[in-house]
Amino acid sequence: MDDSTVAKLEGANLEDLGIPTGRLAMWWFLASEISIFGGLVCIFVLLRWRHPEWASEAVHTINAAGALNTVVLLTSSLSAVLAHQAAEDGRYRKAARLLGATFGGGVIFLCVKAYEYSHEIHAGFVPARSMFWSFYYLMTGLHALHVIGGMVAMFVIMLSVRKGLNPQRVEYVGIYWHFVDIVWIFLFPLLYLAS
């Protein structure tokens, strides 16, 4: 790729650490996110260890829906990273289209999640039913909020990158999206598979 594109990608300021400021901020942001989700996972793992009887509740989660959502998120991560590649190559319209695909992945994910929630609540598995379900709704709910937040950011960036504005942000929102993906990679076995 030519130098002018890269200069555009990197924004105005470069620095001693060799990371553009926006990306550095994103890493620090993710560090604080790690401590939120990681803290929750720590608590859940410890309590789950203490209470093997939660297994009888855990079998009622819908494995197929969780697996489908894993596929959706992994695929949306793929389109996010391809969007990043396209933005680096200066193909902004393609980057915007791929970000749109990732956004669509987020929509599908939320639809599946909504189906799961309504199905489970109808079956009587409400948050206050037991500790396992409290944790289930807490962790997946917090994760879903992060999905929504990522989608909002992605929509804004999609509109601007179409016009070639701030293409470096495609990478930043991608990093965030991959993090949300990784959280799901751990939530899926924790809440669905392990029983």
């Binding site: 300021n13 620090w28 560090a31 401590s35 939120i36 990681g38 206050a128 500790m131 409290s134 917090l142």
Partner: protein, 558 residues
């Protein structure tokens, strides 16, 4: 985010309200913090009056019921920690100083910075509104332990604690944004020539504090959401009846709560580290050692938290390791204090107001630090826990960095912030009042603690052991001290207003200091530096043989 697209803002709103200029945002944080300090101070007055004259109507407030007293104590602690110490020490000082000290035109993300302030202001409004909801404000203590905070039956109405949690969560979001800004700015926006170890101690300590905050707050955010769900949705995360564990919240709270002590302590120490060399005309002693000690403090602050829970029913095997780490963490802090003292050695000390407050902070903090050893030892803590000894201890430990260092910073950087000098005579009076009455307020509390006086009780006379003249006299002393301490702030507020209107105009470098903020006019214009400064040396080259003057600014060409 785009630094190049920076035009000076126009109009009153653009310049002073919706400004992305780090100096304006710093002042917004500063004045919000001072306002909240007045609210918190008034609550302190209510607490002291109630303890000395239990059951009587308090002038300016009225009758205090027992439930109401709990709300007053809760809000006093919450406000002083989260709405005074954090905005003033972290947000205001870091916002104002980091870009100026490292030679940057603004923060790395000016708009994020503005958002941070507005979210903080929203959190302030939410918190203050909780005074006026049915059932009154949160009354579960500033720690909000369940079951006290878990259900409306235990802590006033349904609204108070929920609003408290919401306000704290908003505040954390604001400071996470601020923290990311501070860290990236210090790492990526330094002036050419400024290496990491050329940064002033203030910048280093602010950055470490921001990192500690970011890494410790996550589990408590999770815990706060769980507590909110317990209250609103009926889950039982912290409810033993539903299989939950109230102790878990204590762990999550203090996993954040203890690092938080260092989050407010470190910026205060940064202020002292900037002021001592300037008013001793000497390089700071052990610059790198102080910074390494800060790193060690930051790491160790994550492994001491359970000393708050020695008698809460934690696993007894946890007590010894946490006791050891607690006592060990005093080593890096002691290294910092001793380095500061060694800075004074054979200096040409000038007792200007900033210096008085900086030295006062060190002296008072010493007592706070030493009494920490008592609380960190399980055997002693079994007796002292939840007594006034603990209250005295943490006021001695936190008033120096929060208030003394803040006052020192105000007297020192006020000229840079507003372009006018503060009155020196009023400043000295302010220091004398503050120092004397602070000790008068809290020294008696150590004794009360030894006599077994619990904290958070609205009326000591309910207990046989506390119904005697000695306890009453000590409460009298502390109350006189508290009222004196509050009245002692009047010279400061008068000084602030008077100097803003017609103080002596400040030159660019009134203290003959080295750091970059003193190389620009007072107050600095939009964009801070007219020309990009280039840095040639560290920040503390005082009385250098290389210079004919007794100071050598960081950007003076060799």
């Amino acid at each position: 985010m785009a630094h190049s697209a920076h035009h000076p803002p126009v109009g009153f709103l653009g310049r002073y309200v919706f400004s992305t200029d780090h100096k304006v945002i710093a002042k917004q944080y500063l004045f919000t913090g001072i306002f909240m300090a007045l609210v918190g101070g008034f609550l302190a007055y209510v607490i002291r009056m109630q303890l000395t004259f239990p059951g009587e109507s308090i002038p300016g407030y009225g009758h205090v019921s027992f439930v109401h007293y709990n709300a007053v104590v809760t809000l006093h602690g919450t406000i002083m920690i989260f709405w005074v110490a954090m905005p003033v020490l972290l947000a205001a000082l870091a916002n104002f100083l980091i870009p100026l000290m490292i030679g940057a035109e603004d923060m790395a993300f000016p708009r994020l910075n503005m958002l941070s302030y507005w979210i903080f202001l929203l959190s302030t409004v939410v918190l203050l509104s909780s005074f006026f909801v049915p059932g009154g404000a949160a009354a579960g203590g500033w720690t909000s332990y369940p079951p006290l905070s878990g259900s409306a039956a235990f802590s006033g109405g349904q609204w108070g604690v929920s609003l408290w949690i919401l306000a704290v969560a908003l505040e954390f979001a604001a400071f996470l944004m601020g923290g990311i800004n501070f860290i990236t700015t210090a790492f990526n926006m330094r002036a050419p020539g400024m290496k990491l170890f050329d940064m002033p101690i203030m910048v280093w300590l602010q950055v470490v504090a921001a990192i500690v905050f970011m890494l410790s707050v996550g589990p408590l955010i999770a815990g706060a959401v769980m507590l909110l769900l317990d209250r609103l949705v009926g889950t039982g995360f912290f409810d033993p009846a539903a299989g939950g564990d109230p102790l878990l919240f204590q762990h999550l709270f203090w996993f954040f709560g203890h690092p938080e002590v260092y989050v407010v302590l470190l910026p205060g120490f940064g202020v002292i580290g900037e002021i001592l060399p300037v008013f001793s005309r000497k390089p700071i002693f052990g610059y790198r050692m102080i910074i390494y000690a800060t790193f060690v403090t930051g790491v160790m602050s994550f492994i001491v938290w359970a000393h708050h829970q020695f008698i809460a029913g934690i696993d007894p095997r946890l007590a010894t390791p946490f006791s050891i780490t607690t006592i060990l963490i005093s080593v890096p802090i002691a290294i910092m204090v001793f380095s500061y003292m060694a800075t004074l050695w054979r200096g040409s000390i000038e007792f200007k107001t900033p210096m008085l407050f900086a030295l006062g902070a060190l002296a008072v903090f010493l007592l706070g630090g030493v009494t920490g050893i008592h609380n960190g030892t399980p055997a002693a803590d079994i007796f002292l826990h939840d007594t006034y000894f603990v209250v005295a201890h943490f006021h001695y430990a936190l008033i120096p960095p929060v208030f003394f260092a803040f006052f020192a910073a105000m007297y020192y950087w006020f000229p840079k912030m507003f372009g006018r000098m503060l009155n020196e005579r009023l400043g000295v009076a302010h220091f004398v009042f503050t120092f004397f009455f602070m000790n008068l307020t809290f020294l008696p509390m150590f004794l009360l603690g030894f006599m077994g006086h619990q904290r958070r009780i609205a009326d000591p006379r309910v207990f046989d052991t506390l119904r005697n003249a000695q306890v009453e006299n000590l409460h009298w002393l502390a109350t006189i001290g508290a009222i004196g301490l509050l009245l002692g702030q009047i010279p400061f507020l008068v000084n602030l207003v008077m100097s803003l209107i017609r103080g002596e105009r400040a030159e660019a470098n009134p203290w003959r200091a080295n750091t970059l903020e003193w190389t620009v006019p007072s107050p600095p214009g939009h964009g801070n530096f007219e020309r990009q400064p280039v840095v040639y040396r560290g920040p503390y080259e005082y009385s250098s043989p290389e210079s004919s003057e007794d100071f050598l600014p960081q950007n003076a060409a060799p």
